[in-house]
């Protein structure tokens, strides 16, 4: 059998992200996680919306889909549900996911669609050159908040737990080893896996963002039990510190499993073909 290396997961295109951008870390961790899991390149679909992070599929030697802003999860849902043979990974920015795409996460999560969703969260709109996002800290001036950002920030981890996502984790793009490990676990997890990435935008949030993330974050200790959603919710208080690792995880039936039951019911005469017409459709 073919052995896949990091090189196989790379495309011929060189990333055009700014030097120092957090997305490089995510990309590298993803290469390594896939190598670790040895998933054939032609059985992977990397789906994205629009944003700096959304350029990632173009740098993959797998199948990639770079759609429109905010719709990464619907595309990924369709791609997964239409052919369960493939590994589908959705990637995108905080604007793409938490702002314009906010309506989709809850539904992919509660249905437990068996995909992995990686959000490159830099707390800014990178591609459009520096406007506020739902995770831009209070008070910060951006292109659209000339006098400082107002309105409380969005808490992705707590929200995803409330949405009943079955795997909720956070990583820091600067730690490629840890990120590789968590991404691999997320891909392996059966059901909807969510990975929030602290990913600095050196251009529009400044280089300090690395320090900021480093100072605020800590690794979840081994002793932590991620299976209780109330504890996990409590843990993910963003006014405090940023936990790195798997914050919540609990297995439950996936949507494809439930749909398979539906098909069985339908085939077992659950429905009679009213007009005889449908006989024509049998192969």
């Amino acid at each position: 059998m073919k052995k896949y290396t990091v090189k196989d997961y790379k495309s011929k295109t060189k990333p055009i992200w700014c030097p120092g951008c957090g997305n490089y870390g995510i990309l590298n961790a993803l290469y390594r996680a896939l190598e670790q899991l040895q998933i054939p390149t032609h059985k992977i679909g990397i789906i994205s919306g629009i944003g700096c992070a959304g350029r990632l599929p173009g740098y993959m030697g797998t199948y990639g889909f770079n759609g429109v802003h905010g719709r990464v999860l619907p595309v990924a849902t369709g791609a997964k549900m239409a052919n369960l043979d493939n590994t589908i990974i959705a990637v995108g920015g905080d604007g793409d996911g938490y702002s314009i795409g906010a309506g989709h996460i809850g539904h992919a999560a509660r249905k437990n669609i068996d995909i992995t969703y990686i959000v490159s969260d830099n707390g800014i709109y990178g591609l459009t050159k520096g406007q506020a996002s739902p995770t831009t800290p209070l008070g910060i001036p951006t292109k659209t908040t000339y006098y400082g950002n107002i309105g409380a920030t969005f808490n992705p981890i707590r929200t995803l737990i409330a949405y009943k996502a079955s795997f909720v984790a956070r990583i820091f793009s600067a730690d490629i080893k840890h990120s590789t490990d968590i991404i691999a676990k997320a891909i392996t997890h059966r059901g909807f896996s969510f990975v929030e990435v602290l990913s600095p935008c050196v251009t529009f949030r400044g280089k300090d963002q690395y320090d900021y993330f480093r100072e605020k974050s800590f690794y979840i200790p081994e002793s932590y039990d991620p299976s209780n959603e109330v504890n996990a919710f409590d843990y993910a208080n963003d006014e405090d510190v940023l936990e790195l690792g798997i914050i919540y995880k609990k297995s439950r039936p996936t949507y494809d499993e439930a749909l398979e039951e539906v098909r069985t019911k339908a085939k077992n005469g659950g429905v009679s073909s009213k007009l005889g017409l449908l006989n024509n459709f049998e192969v």
Binding site: Y63, V75, G78, N83, L277
Partner: protein, 592 residues
């Protein structure tokens, strides 16, 4: 007077079971091989509001609902009033009404001098007496009219048995009793004085469907793999039928959180190589326009059904209109090619859906199927034999061209070809890995903002139109080629136009109609043929802003063809009548 073609209207309150009565009659008539055509209409209430049906049955093929009622049945006069513009009466109409409904006679807007006969029958009372509940009013009514006008009696009994069988023998029995009671009342207590008598021979049973149902079947027939949608009137039944049947064939159906999700989910499914579809109505399309543009740019096959309703905005959800035409063609930003197909009747819903998949898969682009509430919700006979003999049959729609081994060596997903069609690979195909993008890209799929690349790729995407124009023609002409008067119409308007053209020619006005099925890209050839002898052309559409007229003028220089156009554009709500169109033809004929 005996006849083999009759139009019946029934109106009453929601609790009266009007719709059930209509459906039973339709069922009965078609099992006796008659052609049927039935419209339903409701008030704004979800429950307890007014409702009505208009049902035409005939031994010979029919294309429209029939303009006016030969028979009007009223269970409640107040409710009838809400439908009086939808239920127009023939001068010599026969009326059957419930004498237990104490509505003041002077408020009933009927010209009593003209009507042939008014039977006032204690329907409620008969119901209560026979089956013990006034709930069976509708069945009693069926008994009455089947006896009065010689409608399919035995078949009606069979329909009732079938319909209620899953509710137990007791329910079946009590309904049969009610039916008999109605029939007996006519036989025993009435003097039948009107000469209206329906007469027909039994034929092979026919299939009856609603347009939405036919689209669902057509999609499954064409090999649908994946459906994602969001409910909306008047399209929801498509998803509902598919939800019942598709899982049987191993397919996947998902109710999504909204229309943005629906269109993008089917794009995702198409990306992994599957035949996929969504269905919605105007408001949903307005939300899908970005996604439709994405499918156009990524050259992914998807079928989008729009069962049009009255607009704009929330508009008239339960009423029909043809005012989403321009949006179907131009709704997305940018130059974003797509194909627009319009079914013209229920049977054509099946055909057009199959065709839509064929085109989508072959030319790798979004296809919009533009139906409307009139077709979607009406019941109409279709020819079962016809369905078996499709040009593009099930499983034969493997029209998506995948790359050869040779092509995979240096795989260009968006390879420039003469007909614009590039071999498409998808996850699962080794060596065909690539990125598909909504951003402008080169032949490999790499993003590019180069002006020349954009030009080349735009031309490539539009080259498909030329291929389609070559590959398809259509032959939906009615009337003689050498007519100087023409009618151009589209979609559900076909029925009334077809019958009006027939009548006009019978009356000695030579006129020909053309009803395209592929609306966009514009196929000039058939129109050239059509326009050859025309001097005056009536353009019929249910859009006040005249979208079809503007569209046609954009592509046909009528002045150059020496043709004067007579746009006939009305606001939506009620379907066209044959008479309206006939009048326009006569007017045009008389104009100097």
């Amino acid at each position: 007077m005996s006849r083999n073609n009759i139009v019946i209207g029934i109106a009453g309150s929601g609790g009266d079971g009007i719709i059930t009565a209509g459906e039973l009659l339709v069922q009965a008539a078609s099992s006796d091989g008659l052609f049927v055509f039935m419209l339903k209409s409701y008030g704004p209430q979800i429950r307890g509001g007014e409702s009505s049906i208009k049902l035409r049955m005939s031994e010979i093929p029919i294309a429209s609902q029939g303009d006016k009622l030969d028979v009007l049945v009223v269970l409640n006069w107040k409710d009838f009033l809400r439908f009086k513009s939808e239920l127009l009466l023939e001068d010599n109409v026969v009326i059957v009404s419930d004498s237990d409904d104490k509505f003041p006679e002077e408020d009933i807007p009927i010209d009593k001098n003209k009507m042939k006969k008014w039977y006032k029958i204690p329907i409620t009372e008969i119901a209560k007496e026979s089956s013990g509940t006034k709930q069976s009013k509708n069945i009693v009514t069926l008994g009455i009219i089947s006896e009065l006008f010689n409608l399919p009696k035995e078949a009606l009994k069979r329909s009732i048995k079938k319909k209620f069988s899953n509710k137990g023998q007791k329910v079946v029995d009590s309904n049969i009793i009610a039916l008999n009671a109605g029939q007996n009342h006519v036989k025993n207590s009435l003097t039948k004085i009107d000469p209206l008598e329906f007469e027909y021979k039994e034929h092979e049973p026919r299939l009856v469907m609603e347009g939405n149902e036919a689209i669902a079947y057509g999609a499954i027939y064409a090999g649908l793999d994946f459906f994602a949608g969001y409910p909306i009137t008047p399209s929801s039944e498509i998803m509902q039928w598919i939800g019942r049947f598709l899982p049987k064939y191993g397919g996947t159906i998902m109710q999504m959180e909204d229309e943005l999700a629906s269109i993008n989910a089917i794009i995702g499914a198409s990306f992994v190589g599957k035949k996929s579809m969504t269905a919605t109505s105007g408001p949903g399309i307005s939300l899908m326009n970005e996604g439709i543009g994405l499918a156009s740019m990524t050259e992914l096959p998807v079928v989008i059904v729009n069962v049009q309703r009255g607009g704009p905005s929330t508009g008239l959800p339960t009423k029909t209109e043809q005012s989403d035409l321009m949006q179907a063609i131009w709704g997305s930003h940018g130059d974003s090619p797509r194909v627009v197909i319009a079914p013209a009747d229920v049977e054509d819903c099946f055909d057009s859906t199959v065709l839509a998949f064929y085109i989508a898969e072959k030319y790798q682009m979004p296809v919009i199927l533009l139906s409307d509430g009139f077709i979607g919700h009406r019941k109409e006979s279709i020819n079962p034999a016809h369905l078996k003999d499709k040009k593009y049959g099930f499983k034969k729609i493997n029209s998506r061209k995948t790359p050869t081994k040779e092509e995979l060596k240096d795989y260009k997903r968006f390879k420039i070809t003469k007909d614009g069609i590039s071999p498409i690979s998808y996850p699962g195909i080794e060596g065909g890995e690539h990125q598909t993008a909504g951003i402008e890209h080169d032949e490999y799929g790499y993003p590019s903002s180069d002006v020349d690349v954009h030009k080349k790729m735009t031309l490539k995407r539009y080259a498909k139109y030329e291929a389609i124009k070559k590959d398809f023609s259509f032959e939906r002409f009615y009337g003689p080629d050498d007519a100087e008067i023409g009618v151009i119409a589209w979609g559900s308007t076909k029925g009334a136009v077809k019958e009006a053209v027939k009548k006009a020619n019978e009356k000695g006005i030579k006129v020909q109609a053309i009803i395209p099925q592929i609306i966009y890209p514009f196929l000039m050839e058939p129109f050239k043929k059509f326009l050859k002898n025309k001097k005056k052309v009536i353009i019929v559409e249910m859009s006040y802003s005249g979208q079809f007229t503007r569209y046609l003028r954009g592509f046909i220089n009528f002045g150059k063809h020496g043709v004067t156009t007579f746009p006939y554009r009305i606001t939506g709500g009620a379907p066209f009548t044959v008479e309206e169109i006939l009048n326009k033809i006569t007017e045009a004929a008389e104009k100097k």
